[in-house]
Subunit: 144 residues, 2 copies
DNA sequence: GATTGGTAGTTACAAAACCAACTATTAGAG
DNA sequence: CTCTAATAGTTGGTTTTGTAACTACCAATC
């Protein structure tokens, strides 16, 4: 029994997006969770610092769309694991510059490769045109 | 400073999907949260029952990809709000058939329309071809 | 140079999610 | 029958998140 035929739950974009996001995230999480005991937010912080270099927590919040309390906790956890270090800025002591340690960088280097091949596998099922369209649409939705 | 130029975090599909999913979900949540005090899982249960008719909790778990403990709690909450009712099955008393009450159905009817127009607005920024591709890709990823 | 307002980041407490063990029930094998 | 295994759903304890209030600091105004 389906009450409506023109608009189905399976077509509701937020629903689809959530399920797709969940599926891919679960697939990838074992790489950072099982092996390095990281949470998703921690992994994202590592990825940001590894790819874009040292920055303030604030910048990570904006780029990664993570609330500052979550970043704050992720940074504390990563520091405890000795994956990153903080450096208070002399000019403005409210800021602290975050950067990966050697250990953290090694983790990033490995996960970066894993992420790249994970993504390649995931995209392998689509044509180049589909990939472009998919990513463009997602980016557009994300910037809403 | 960007260390790698061929594969950027912004291209990592799980990341993109998560941000897009988050953005749309937050946009829609006020409709069920503010007005009806529902959680996301509750809203999904209502949507499933409203669209596909009475079913067992197990079926909702499978269709909506929600863990049974979450469904169990959502059902209890919806029952307390008098949006759904349970009926134990005579044949097999482990099963209970869930269905929306009149109240629940009214909520569904309204939210269904809101969801439809929300989705239409969201998709308005894309061409018909993009929409088709986007949804097809998402559905494919979701079924992984 | 005190006061007010704003910013970066943290903490505390409450809400929600996660995971594992549990109850109640049925099905099937001996 | 009765015993074991399996299924539907629930509960309890821990982890994670969300929200709001907080600290520490800086900048601008008076």
């Amino acid at each position: 029994m389906t009450k409506f035929s023109d608009f189905d739950l399976q077509d509701f974009t937020p629903f689809l997006l959530n399920i797709a996001a969940e599926a891919t995230s679960l697939g990838f999480q074992r790489h950072y969770k099982e092996k390095y005991g990281m949470l998703r937010t921690e992994w994202r912080v590592v990825f940001h610092l590894g790819q874009y270099g040292p920055m303030h927590a604030k910048e990570i919040c904006e780029r990664a769309r993570i609330h500052k309390t979550k970043v704050s906790r992720a940074v504390a956890a990563l520091e405890a694991k000795r994956y990153l270090q903080r450096k208070e800025e002399a000019k403005d002591r409210r800021h602290e510059t975050l950067s990966l340690t050697r250990r953290g960088l090694a983790v990033f280097d490995e996960l970066y490769e894993v992420a790249r091949s994970f993504d390649a596998d995931l995209m392998a099922q689509f044509t180049p045109e589909e990939r472009v369209t998919l990513k463009r649409c997602l980016a557009q939705i994300a910037n809403l």
